[in-house]
């Protein structure tokens, strides 16, 4: 028996001794690896969903704006108290000089908005 035959025989013996792996081993190993891997948080998933495609940026911005808007609407009180009018003696406009009335006006930006 030459060396080549010996090597071939030992290889065949080794092969016959090897126990075939169970069918479920691969699946078990995959499951174990998955369990060992840290789970992505819900926020990471949400962030990924909002940034993975171009349209998702718009959707994400709209969603965030809607959320912030809802928060602001809830936070701002329905009615803000207006300045009270102090009780003062009534002075008829007719008794006021027109120049005094002209001085009542001041320069304005012409904006159409509420008082801040």
């Amino acid at each position: 028996m030459n060396e080549d035959d010996e090597a071939r025989l030992s290889k065949a013996a080794m092969k016959s001794l090897m126990v075939p792996a169970p069918e479920s081993l691969k699946a078990d190993l995959k499951r174990m690896a998955r369990n060992r891997k840290p789970k992505p948080s819900i926020w990471d998933g949400l962030r990924e969903a909002l940034t993975e495609r171009a349209w998702a940026y718009g959707a994400g911005a709209a969603f965030a704006a809607a959320g912030i808007g809802a928060l602001i609407i809830r936070a701002v009180p329905e009615r803000e108290a207006a300045q009270g009018v102090p009780a003062r003696p009534v002075q008829r406009l007719e008794s006021v000089a027109p120049q005094a009335l002209a001085d009542m006006w001041s320069d304005d930006a012409g904006e159409d908005n509420d008082e801040i």
């Binding site: 819900i42 998933g45 949400l46 990924e48 969903a49 909002l50 993975e52 998702a56 959707a59 994400g60 709209a62 969603f63 809607a66 329905e78 009615r79 803000e80 108290a81 207006a82 300045q83 009270g84 009018v85 009780a87 003062r88 003696p89 009534v90 002075q91 008829r92 406009l93 007719e94 006021v96 027109p98 120049q99 005094a100 009335l101 002209a102 001085d103 009542m104 006006w105 001041s106 320069d107 304005d108 930006a109 012409g110 159409d112 908005n113 509420d114 008082e115």
Partner: protein
């Protein structure tokens, strides 16, 4: 598409479900009547009056308003705090009379208005029979309070804007300070005073704008910077 993308899309799709159903649009005359009558409760407000003169910088003044049902007290605040404020207390005109005047002069239409001083409004447009838009009114949907009024020139440019910028409604308002004095002359729009008199004419001014009331051949003629409805009211009161 991941489950997160799906969740975002579902959340966005659900937003319109939160929207309130649209309020039914009121009739134009019903709304104007409500605006002319004023709220049934007392209120306080800060109003900004802006005048847009052609080729000049806009001018503005601030008015503190306090109102009881049927009565309004306006206190014009001078820019210099040391100057005395000008106060005017008036009774509201009967809503039916005001509406009749507006109906005779304008075509009235209603549309959805925006939000003024945090209140949802209806917008009322007053167009002359020729089709020119003369005034636009923003009326509070709940109380009927006139929140904003814009007056336009014949060319469509904005001449004047009166807008409530701060409002407390309802508000506790004391009856003191609402003593109504009998008017010495014809009715004048808010803020106008008699500036000159002579030769059968009277000139009224608010410091920026003016109009003249003249009696010629037993007829009252009003000329100047007044919208048709204000001029008609001046004529009616001068004829009495």
């Amino acid at each position: 598409m991941t489950k997160y993308s799906l969740a975002v899309l579902l959340a966005l799709a659900a937003l319109p479900l939160q929207a309130k159903p649209r309020a039914p649009r009121p009739g134009a005359e019903e709304l104007v009547l409500k605006a002319l009558a004023g709220p049934a409760t007392s209120y306080t407000a800060v109003e900004r009056v802006q005048v847009f003169l052609p080729g000049r910088k806009p001018k503005a003044l601030k008015v503190n308003v306090a109102a009881l049902p049927g009565k309004v007290r306006r206190e014009v605040l001078p820019p210099k705090k040391k100057a005395a404020p000008l106060v005017q207390a008036r009774e509201r005109e009967k809503a039916g009379t005001g509406l009749a005047r507006l109906r005779a002069l304008y075509e009235i239409s209603v549309s959805t208005g925006g939000v003024v001083a945090k209140r949802k409004t209806w917008k009322v447009e007053l167009r002359l029979k020729s089709g020119i838009l003369r005034r636009a009114l923003w009326v509070d949907r709940d109380s009927g309070l006139l929140m904003k009024r814009e007056t336009y020139r014949d060319d469509g440019s904005l001449a004047r804007r009166e807008r409530i910028v701060k409002l407390e409604l309802p508000a506790a308002v004391e009856a003191a300070g609402f003593e109504i004095e009998s008017a010495s002359g014809p009715w004048s729009p808010d803020g106008y005073v008699l500036a000159a008199e002579g030769g059968g004419t009277r000139r009224y001014s608010n410091g920026l704008e003016s109009y003249v009331v003249a009696a010629t051949a037993g007829k009252i003629v009003v000329t100047g910077d007044l919208a048709e409805d204000d001029a008609a009211r001046v004529r009616e009161s001068a004829a009495k």
